[in-house]
């Protein structure tokens, strides 16, 4: 299971980074979403992987660390909200400028210098 979780985190991070480097709003937002999924799984794994044990202290010897679950919950809510905000702002910028590049426009004065 360690291999499965570790490779899932790795693949999600790699694909996320690739998409972020595409520099167009849609792939970049998809990329940041993948990155947040990766980090959520990573946070989950930071409390060690335990299968079929309750996240609470009981008389039983085995239990799951409950703290990472609380951390993941917070992280999910925050990343969800942030993604919604960036989608709205990116939509506004795209509709206003008819251009969905993330990087800076070349200022008119510089463009003249280059031609």
């Amino acid at each position: 299971m360690e291999l499965l979780v570790a490779s899932a985190i790795g693949i999600l991070t790699a694909s996320g980074l690739y998409l972020v480097l595409r520099l167009r709003t849609f792939p970049v937002i998809m990329g940041t979403s993948l990155l947040t999924y990766a980090v959520n799984v990573f946070l989950f794994a930071s409390g060690r992987l335990t299968v079929g044990a309750p996240p609470i202290l009981t008389d039983a010897a085995r239990y799951t660390d409950p703290l990472p679950q609380a951390l993941v919950l917070t992280a999910i809510v925050i990343s969800f909200g942030m993604t919604a905000v960036v989608v709205m702002i990116a939509l506004g910028a795209y509709l206003g400028g008819n251009d969905d590049h993330v990087d800076d426009l070349i200022p008119a004065s510089d463009a003249e210098d280059r031609t």
């Binding site: 972020v20 709003t25 970049v28 937002i29 940041t32 990155l35 947040t36 990766a38 980090v39 990573f42 946070l43 794994a45 930071s46 409390g47 060690r48 202290l57 703290l67 990472p68 951390l71 917070t74 992280a75 925050i78 990343s79 909200g81 942030m82 993604t83 905000v85 960036v86 702002i89 990116a90 506004g92 910028a93 206003g96 400028g97 993330v102 990087d103 800076d104 426009l105 200022p107 004065s109």
Partner: protein, 514 residues
């Protein structure tokens, strides 16, 4: 337990929804409550500072859960100083906002402003790393709203960059926190400080990675080269007063570096001992140099000021990277100075924008109220560049003095002095083009004369400049207090015992061993 300590967070947290829900269509009521909030925050901040000045560490346990199980707020000299500084900056920015009517150009300015204050105050006061992340997000999400206040395509584009960059920064922060939790099993700063020191030197791989990741996250916040790319566009395109408030946001990164790397990963910790000299110092020198080259190369006044912020953060980081008590004390003196100077400069940018088509550094007809605006620019530029007689000079002198013992002293002095010369030329050229040569440009007779900015605008800028003068005149007491702060940071025993040994729920003898 002192309940005052949570007031800087709770007060804006209550004012913001009140402003949205009850005073939505009444701009006057919004202004009154927003101003009241800022004044009350200054009062609370000053009160807490007086309390902390004796060296006492105040502790607030949320729901009375004992650390490290519950979240704690900790008020020591450093955090109360930063709280007071934020509140003071916020008051003058608000005065400017009201004077220039920026808050009428879009909705919910004051509510977002209060949420922003809540996030910044929380980040300064919290004693828990995950809570620090949450407050970072609070201040960021409010700043997204403020940054695109009043809209416009150019501003929205800059906003997209800003939000995406910070989203990536937050993801990195979570990776760092996950790594720290996996290695130590705690996220309370005081508890971490004790547990990190116990880690066997052969098994420090995980914690070293976490330390570097965390440094990168805070470096993004502090706009340290090469992680500074989000700053120039977003600060230049944000509304002037919002950029002025953002002057404190880069300092949140600097504060977090000071806090985490004196408490959890102190310079004498073997595992992360080389981090400061290997990575932080070169990056800081590079930021300083690049920022001031940017000042020289900028074609618009707002970009010029944004690059000077990068340069001054580089200066702060050089002082922090020395990681000596003298270095941190100099950094703290400079942080106060650079926050006030950058705030004033962004406000002056906005003043200069009034009546001009753009902020390009070309000679254009003189704007209304140019005489006073240019005088203020002159004072603020002197402060930012760091030539006598204002506090930038004193701060720079302190930093250079602290660097004398450092093996890289030649490099540090050379970069600081060279960068100062560059910024002097850059600011001098900008000021003379914008304000001096404008007198020679004939005024278009047909153009309608623009009204001079309101009195409150000048009160806002003038207040910040007056504080800069006070910071210079009272440099003696200010450096004494900065030295006291750094002494407390390098002797954290009282912090640790206060946080970990104050009894609360769960620690009354019935505590189970995990």
């Amino acid at each position: 337990m002192i309940h005052w300590l949570i007031l800087p967070i709770v007060l804006p947290a209550f004012l913001a929804p009140f402003i949205v829900l009850a005073a939505r269509y009444h701009i006057t009521i919004q202004r009154v409550f927003s101003l009241f909030g800022a004044v009350a925050l200054i009062a609370v901040g000053l009160g807490l500072s007086v309390e902390a000045a004796s060296g006492e560490v105040m502790l607030y346990r949320l729901s009375d859960w004992a650390a490290p199980f519950g979240i704690v707020l900790v008020g020591d000299r450093l955090s109360t100083l930063m709280v007071t500084l934020t509140a003071v900056l916020a008051l003058f920015v608000l005065l400017y906002v009201i004077g220039s009517k920026w808050d009428e150009r879009g909705r919910h300015f004051h509510a977002l402003f209060q949420f922003q204050l809540m996030g910044i105050m929380g980040a300064f006061l919290t004693g828990d790393l995950f809570n620090l992340f949450v407050f970072f997000e609070v201040l960021l999400i409010a700043s997204y709203g403020l940054m695109i206040h009043a809209g416009g395509t150019v501003r929205l584009r800059a906003g997209v960059q800003y939000v995406l960059y910070n989203l990536l920064g937050s993801t990195l922060f979570l990776f760092a926190l996950g790594a720290i939790y996996a290695e130590t099993g705690t996220l309370n700063m005081a508890d971490l400080a004790q547990r990190v020191a116990l880690i066997d030197l052969g098994e420090t791989v995980g914690i070293r990675i976490a330390a570097v990741l965390l440094l990168m996250v805070f470096a993004i916040k502090a706009a340290l080269v090469p992680l500074h790319f989000w700053l120039p566009s977003s600060y230049a395109e944000a509304p002037g007063p919002v950029a002025a408030l953002f002057a404190i946001m880069t300092k949140v990164g600097a504060y977090a570096i000071i806090r985490v790397y004196t408490l959890i990963f102190p310079p004498e910790l073997a595992a992360t001992a080389d981090l400061h000299t290997t990575w932080l110092l070169p990056a800081a020198l590079l930021s300083l140099a690049l920022g001031m080259v940017g000042v020289l190369a900028a074609k618009q006044l707002d970009r010029l000021v944004a690059f000077s912020v990068i340069g001054s953060m580089g200066m702060v980081m050089v002082a922090i990277a020395l990681f000596t008590p003298e270095g941190i004390a100099a950094a703290l003196y400079y942080i106060v100075h650079s926050t006030l100077a950058a705030g004033a400069l962004f406000l002056i940018c906005d003043l200069a924008r009034a009546g001009r088509a753009n902020l390009d550094l070309t000679a254009q007809p003189q704007v209304a109220g140019a005489r006073l605006t240019s005088a203020m620019f002159f004072v603020a530029a002197i402060a930012m560049v760091g030539v006598p007689p204002l506090s930038g000079f004193v701060g720079k002198l302190l930093i250079m003095d602290a660097a004398v013992q450092n093996p890289y002293m030649v490099w540090i002095w050379a970069v600081i002095l060279g960068a100062s010369l560059l910024s002097l030329v850059g600011f001098g050229r900008a000021g003379s083009t914008l304000f001096w040569k404008a007198r020679a440009v004939p005024v278009d007779e047909d153009a309608e004369p623009t009204a001079a900015p309101g009195v409150l605008c000048y009160v806002g800028v003038g207040g910040l400049l007056a504080l800069l003068v006070a910071h210079t005149l009272l440099a003696g007491p200010a450096t004494a207090y900065a030295t006291a702060i750094s002494k407390q940071l390098f002797g954290p025993e009282r912090y640790l015992t206060t946080v970990l040994e104050t009894p609360g729920k769960l620690s009354d003898g019935k505590e189970e061993d995990h």
